[in-house]
Symmetry: C2
Subunit: 77 residues, 2 copies
């Protein structure tokens, strides 16, 4: 896995962070996943250690929680 | 200002995030500032909107709080 994955849920904090991350690391280096719409990806995000969105899972598997938009519990609820 | 600034305080969460950020955006694109040691930089971090470390201030001035190491109040205290 060479791309980072940016998980978000469409919240304003998420959208702002998405723009910053894409500016910083380049659109071609990050897959953007809206787990609010694409709920089938929620278990994978949880498995990667995502507790809140927005979050960036790096190519080496570390999870960086960025600012705070919503907890995963809220997205699931 | 073309570089991002990564503020940290030497905590384990900070060190881990620093490695991830450097891997993602490149060492030449980020200035690393330890505000635990370099306390003169604390006011500038606060002015940039840094509430906790580690945090990354992007070239366009947005502050991304990454995971959570320590609040600025703790670093100052």
């Amino acid at each position: 896995m060479n791309k980072s994955i940016f998980y978000h849920a469409g919240c304003p904090v998420c959208v702002s962070a998405e723009h910053d991350i894409i500016n910083l690391i380049g659109r071609e280096n990050v897959e953007v996943v809206n787990i609010g719409e694409n709920r089938a990806r929620i278990p994978e995000a949880e498995k990667a250690g995502v507790n809140s969105v927005p979050a960036l899972v790096t190519p080496n598997g570390n999870t960086l929680h960025i600012n705070f938009g919503a907890s995963l519990a809220d997205v699931k609820g």
